[in-house]
């Protein structure tokens, strides 16, 4: 029974049924939107400052103490800009695309547990729901790429499709490892069963899931969709003003959402000593995000065929093997001794990664024309 459901029940006793349905929904949407917007603003600030420090710059520090109001100023600037739609664009689709990119992020937060019982709806198919919803934003991206009538955007859209479809598989397979161990798809139960965080129990699964999600949120080194040195800005080349702001929001919203999912699935979610659960959860989200920023500050980008080869030849087989190992362990290892599993799985992960480094080739890349 989540807090919101209790509220709904209580409301149902004094108000008519339809209002008892709608009011919590509106409250939920407002709370999620507020949470996403504030965290996005914080993340934008964090990323810019961190990137600055990684690059021996200072980063934005003019507006407010240490520049904390800079994201707000940026948001205002972007919102006030002229909204340009290319003359040959498919207007309706062009208009709809940013909305479709942004909306699924809000939907994802419906099942993210912020604390014990602090979850909007504890779906029993929670994690599958997350995967399903997150694949929606691909639709928005290729709508944007198609409707812009811009060739860079079109290339980005084609890349987006290939990338999303490829990386969904290893992500789902690595989630299955978690689900096997928990025995439930519900996010709340996934968190509650992590007396040892799953990053220790399933290191290989974590690596696969992390790389897969980084690819799905188009972050470095998998940021081919907006590879600025190749295809200018990718799918949002032709966007400006409010619509661009939605894409920007969507990008960071994805980062927030996936950081939250990673924290929930593998880092023990809101669990942690001393501090209140929500604080632990936020700390974990920020930690994951900082790591992603660190990667962005360091790593170059893969090429599109290497990206696909990495998904299909490296991550997918490893994910399948990981799934089998976890299944075997869940079947045969005694549940009372999880630490054996930790040691065993780290050994497996090390051996497999070494083996794949030896076996794995990215392919030549050149095509005879």
């Amino acid at each position: 029974m989540t807090l919101l459901e209790q509220f709904q029940l209580w409301l149902g006793s004094i108000w008519p049924e339809w209002a008892a349905y709608i009011t919590p929904a509106i409250i939920g949407v407002v709370v999620v939107l507020g949470f996403v917007l504030t965290t996005v603003i914080i993340f934008i600030y964090l990323e810019r400052r961190l990137l600055g420090r990684f690059q021996i710059r200072t980063g934005p520090n003019r507006l407010g103490p240490e520049g904390i109001f800079q994201p707000i100023a940026t948001a205002l600037k972007v919102l006030l800009k002229e909204d340009i739609v290319p003359a040959k664009a498919d207007k309706a689709v062009h208009w709809l695309a940013p909305v479709i990119v942004f909306a699924p992020i809000l939907l994802i937060f419906a099942v993210v547990p912020f604390g014990k019982g602090a979850i909007f709806t504890d779906l029993n198919v929670g994690i599958v729901y997350v995967v399903a919803i997150s694949s929606l934003s691909a639709v928005g991206i290729y709508m944007a790429g198609w409707a812009s009538s811009n060739k860079y955007a079109l290339i980005a859209a084609l890349r987006a499709v290939a990338q999303m479809v490829s990386y969904e598989l290893p992500v789902i397979l690595s989630i299955l490892g978690v689900v096997l161990m928990v025995g439930s798809l519900s996010m709340n139960q996934i968190v509650e069963s992590q007396s040892i965080p799953f990053i220790l129990l399933q290191p290989l699964g974590f690596v696969i899931f992390f790389l897969g999600t980084v690819a799905e949120m188009n972050r470095c080194p998998f940021d081919l969709l907006e590879a600025d040195s190749e295809i200018v800005a990718g799918y949002h080349t032709e966007y400006s003003g409010m619509k661009f702001a939605l894409f920007y929001l969507g990008e960071y919203g994805h980062a927030v959402a996936y950081s939250a999912i990673i924290a929930t699935l593998f880092l023990g979610g809101w669990q942690g000593p001393l501090l209140p659960p929500i604080i632990w959860f936020l700390i974990k989200i920020v930690a994951v995000f900082c790591f992603i920023v660190w990667m962005r500050a360091t790593l170059p980008r893969l090429r599109v065929d290497q990206l696909m080869a990495f998904a299909w030849k490296c991550l997918l087989p490893l994910a399948v093997i990981n799934l089998f190992i976890i299944a075997a362990e869940v079947l045969w290892l005694p549940e009372s001794m999880p630490w054996i599993m930790v040691v065993l799985n780290f050994a497996f992960a090390g051996v497999l990664i070494l083996l794949w480094s030896k076996l794995f080739t990215l392919g030549g890349g050149r095509v005879e024309v």
């Binding site: 339809w18 689709v93 029993n124 599958v128 995967v131 399903a132 694949s135 198609w146 999303m164 798809l185």
Partner: protein, 161 residues
């Protein structure tokens, strides 16, 4: 409450389906197809089939529609839109006949409805009936092998040289 949701979803579904058929712009038609898949997932939710709804979104919206749109993006002269061929009139006739048959059979069939309330968490039940004892484990496995063969066949066909 669920009735209102159902009717809204049904209306959108039918509208989207009509748009898929009638729109000249192939890309928009494909987008309407995505919308259609999505609203059908909504209908599943109103029927308490939550796992099915999520899988519907995952498979149809996340994968199949993307493949359709890739196909459209790679199509020649897509800006011409839906060409009107000679088979247009016969297709309408056949479509109407099919619709009539379906409506007729749907209306005249005596549907067996049970009074048992739907099982709430459907996931475990589906899993049990698919993979559990006395379930459909053999058909599932056969289907899996078939799909694998299809994938391999596709790769062999597409491979140059």
């Amino acid at each position: 409450m669920f009735d209102i949701v159902f009717w809204v979803l049904a209306a959108v579904t039918v509208g989207a389906a009509l748009a898929v058929v009638l729109l000249r712009d192939v890309f928009r038609a494909a987008l309407c197809l995505v919308l259609l898949f999505f609203t059908i997932a909504g209908v599943y939710i109103t029927l308490h089939a939550d796992f099915l709804a999520v899988v519907q979104v995952l498979v149809y919206v996340g994968a199949i529609s993307i493949l359709i749109i890739v196909g459209i993006m790679l199509t020649h002269e897509v800006w011409r839109g839906n060409p009107s061929g000679k088979l247009r009139i016969p297709a309408i006739v056949v479509g109407l006949l099919l619709l009539g048959t379906l409506v007729f059979s749907a209306v005249t069939t005596k549907w067996q409805t049970s009074d048992v309330p739907p099982q709430e968490p459907t996931t475990a039940a589906i899993g049990a009936s698919l993979f559990g004892e006395g379930g459909f484990i053999l058909p599932v496995e056969i289907a899996a092998v078939l799909l694998l063969a299809a994938v391999l066949g596709a790769i062999v066909l597409i491979r140059e040289k």
